[in-house]
Subunit: 501 residues, 2 copies
């Protein structure tokens, strides 16, 4: 695509002086309108070294309300960042609704610098493209506006700029080996840039190539493009007011849609207490050892607990953690999202809480809330929960590709057992706090949840992240099975010998 | 996902007798409603051999109006089909708006049979997944409903069914080597099926796994699933009436959005007639030879002509073809789509007209109509033309991957030259038919078209399918440049030595 770019484009001072102040005003107005409408905006600046990214970003930020944007200067991943899946650091930097995130360099480093310098293998680059397309699709589907710029200058122009920078002691330090290297390998870079533009030019997150020989011109085009994108999104939202989410209607009984996955669980499974005590001891010792080996091997693990109210998640998790070294694991209770969390993609809060390599994160409830409680209660739209299955699979696939040990438990009890436990909680003073009106309300929707849980289990049980159903009418059985499952999964992860970088 | 499937599921005769007739009635009603609403439906049946695909399809068709559906039994690609990109045969079989296409086996053969039997390489399988996701996305984006079934039986069940079939001379022939092979390699197949389900489970084209041990059960679930999908789409369309397309507003002049790609074309380029005659002769001889070599090498070529009215497409094409062997090429004039074409995805009519391997197709106008005239005149919605850039790039990428030589010309003249030619046409009796009121109307929108053409050139000039701008104020120059470009492209294609299978 770049062969069509005219790098000689200029803007006269007169035209610029007339036009640019208007653009700046409009930019300010649109920032306020976007804030009002809750539109998050991501602006990505990629481009040749010395193409003027810094200058144009600087100009952009001057026209914005500083409380509404953040500039993220992206460098190669540091040691901490390398201990997470590669997109983690970008998920962490996503703008909330109404905010602007400006990226000076971005996730595209992976398919540019790392591809050219071959610090990423061709397979990693190929996967990176898939990851990027998924990442941007998840964001734009959720209403994020993404504007991507490639600042383009010729090889000759770059060489001249480098020379100029080197001549001035104040700027000479900005032109290092890597920068000169890029000029030498200009053609190789060019090929990677072309591939990048071709592969990631989507309707919702398109690239704009900016002729950057003249700052004035570049800056004007950048402003115009951002203004257009925001106006378009605001227009769209005015014309398409959101469809209010609906709670799930009462499921109609159907003989083929009966929910046999859950009904098949053998809830009579149980374990005598003496056997339990004995096995527990052995398993806990083994797990402590495995925690240590995970740490050594720098492999992260995520253990997810979902299940019916009163199925025994808390007690189960306590047995899992009681012998672990607390420096190596963390229990992450998931409640209703905060206001800040609601202002982001729903997976954002889980990305932020991923275990770093060598560590274990135990999620007490999880990202599956979207396709369970949020679906049933109508806390999200039908589009949102339907999209979520694929988004979750993609998310877990990224964890798995990074080498994460992933265990997902559905703790299953039957409706009678739940009733017994609810009553026991009401009757026992010290357990009283554990039972609320909400629990009773949820219980009233048992059949709704059963449909949602069945859909969830079916659609998100994958080869890289299968579900394990814990038959939990007998708590002792459920605990031993959980610990055994975790131990086996960690051993398999260690055996795969996949070491996080 | 398959580990969660309960293959023992049954439906009692009583329940079935009560339920099934209602489903059949509903199916008929929905077929009529979908026809009315112009909803195209694709139903894909994949599944184990002997899982009962034929039986359930048979039952399904009995409840449908036979004028409204077609069953496509998919076998390995035959010789003709192998001469086109692999998805060609499926594009050819797409249902029109309001129609139903039932696929007994489908494009998933590529990632199942061919993957397991290794008749497709791992790279081909990987590409096939991308192609499939693109294909289904393009269809569902355009409003096609896709329902996909995997009919699941156990290895043991399959073996028993094979035995039964073999025992009866009337059916013994249906169990050949391939069928027994599948049972032997059941686990290998299972792994491929899992991968397929995981990778192609999208929100808009989801898989339904059908427990197919009992026909009665399988059939009921298939009916219920199709009914749900149709009801959902019809509901959606009722709630979201289509936004009427708008003609392009008059472009606002902007100094950075001036359309320099076209303005940069050097329209003073020309060629004296004697030089022209001499070069023409040589080029035509060379092209005839190249046509023959293409044929031998079984490489297809697609030459696309786009350009301003009166830019000289016809004359240029005549010079290209005049010395070619008419058995090896075809000129395909593209006019406004017919009613049948409008009832399909807009790329459908181009897929159907692709050159087969060894042949040359010359398109006089092309698939770029969507982002030019349809955008400018408002013959399609904004969503549609915005999506089209990516769809076109994906389409051309599939052609290129198949080894197709692809040349795209934009014939460029300036507005004054067009006016001269229009007037000449009006004044010359024998050219009078060439100029219509519509030409004058289009001319009135020169600035609109300029914006559309510039966007088109920028967004669809790729490494695998770059644009060539023909400076056509001088027809002789444009003709020689066109012939040279085609010759060079064919030579490059031959050199790549990529042979179509």
């Amino acid at each position: 695509m770049l062969e069509l770019i005219d790098l000689n484009r200029q803007l006269s001072k007169e035209i610029y002086k007339d036009l640019f102040p208007k653009l700046e005003l409009r930019m300010g107005e649109l920032q306020r309108a976007a804030k009002e409408a809750g539109v998050p905006l991501i602006v990505v600046f990629e481009g040749w070294d010395a193409s003027g990214k810094g200058t144009v970003i600087n100009r952009l930020t001057q026209s914005l309300d500083p409380r509404g944007f953040t500039v993220h200067a992206i460098k190669p991943a540091d040691e901490t960042e390398q201990r997470y899946p590669w997109l983690w650091r970008f998920w962490n930097r996503l703008p909330a609704a109404g905010h602007i995130a400006i990226f000076a360099r971005s996730w595209y480093m992976r398919v540019l610098d790392e591809a050219v310098e071959q610090t990423a293998s061709p397979d990693e680059v190929r996967e990176a493209y898939e990851d990027i397309l998924q990442f941007e699709r998840q964001l734009t589907d959720s209403g994020v506006v993404i504007v991507k710029f490639w600042l383009h200058i010729s090889r000759k122009e770059q060489r001249q700029r480098h020379k100029q920078l080197l001549n001035d002691p104040a700027t000479a330090w900005t032109v290092g080996k890597a920068e000169r290297q890029q000029n030498r390998k200009y053609d190789q870079w060019l090929a990677s840039v072309e591939t990048m533009l071709e592969r990631t030019l989507t309707a919702k997150a398109p690239w704009t190539v900016v002729e950057a020989t003249q700052d004035r011109f570049a800056r004007t085009k950048v402003f115009e493009t951002i203004i257009d994108a925001l106006e378009e999104e605001l227009d769209y939202r005015r014309q398409h007011p959101p469809v209010p989410p609906q709670p799930m209607p009462k499921p109609e009984p159907s003989p083929t849609q009966e929910h046999s996955i859950l009904d098949r669980a053998d809830l009579s499974l149980s374990l005598p207490r003496d056997e339990y005590e004995q096995q527990l001891k052995g398993l806990q010792t083994r797990l402590r050892q495995l925690e240590h080996e995970l740490y050594q091997a720098r492999i992260p693990a995520a253990i997810v607990y979902c299940g019916w109210d009163a199925a025994g998640k808390g007690g189960n998790i306590r047995r899992l953690t009681s012998s672990l070294d607390p420096r190596g694991y963390q229990v992450i209770p998931i409640a209703a999202p905060t206001e800040e969390e609601k202002a982001h993609h729903y997976l954002w809060r889980f990305w932020r809480r991923l275990p770093k390599s060598g560590h274990i994160a135990i999620f007490d409830r999880s990202w599956y809330g979207r396709v369970m409680v949020e679906r049933v209660e109508g806390f999200c739209t039908e589009d949102q929960w339907k999209r979520a299955y694929r988004e979750i699979n993609e998310f877990e696939c990224e964890l798995a590709e990074f080498g994460t040990v992933l265990v997902k438990f559905w703790m299953h009890i039957d409706s009678d057992e739940q009733l017994r436990r609810f009553r026991a909680r009401e009757e026992t003073m010290e357990k009283h706090w554990k039972i609320t009106d909400e629990d009773w309300r949820n219980r009233g929707k048992w059949e709704h949840y059963k449909v949602a849980v069945t859909d969830m289990l079916r659609r998100t049980s994958t080869t890289y992240a299968p579900w394990t159903i814990l038959e939990a009418n007998d708590k002792l059985h459920a605990r031993i099975k959980a610990l055994e499952t975790v131990a086996a999964a960690i051993e398999a992860g260690l055996a795969k010998g996949r070491r996080a970088p």
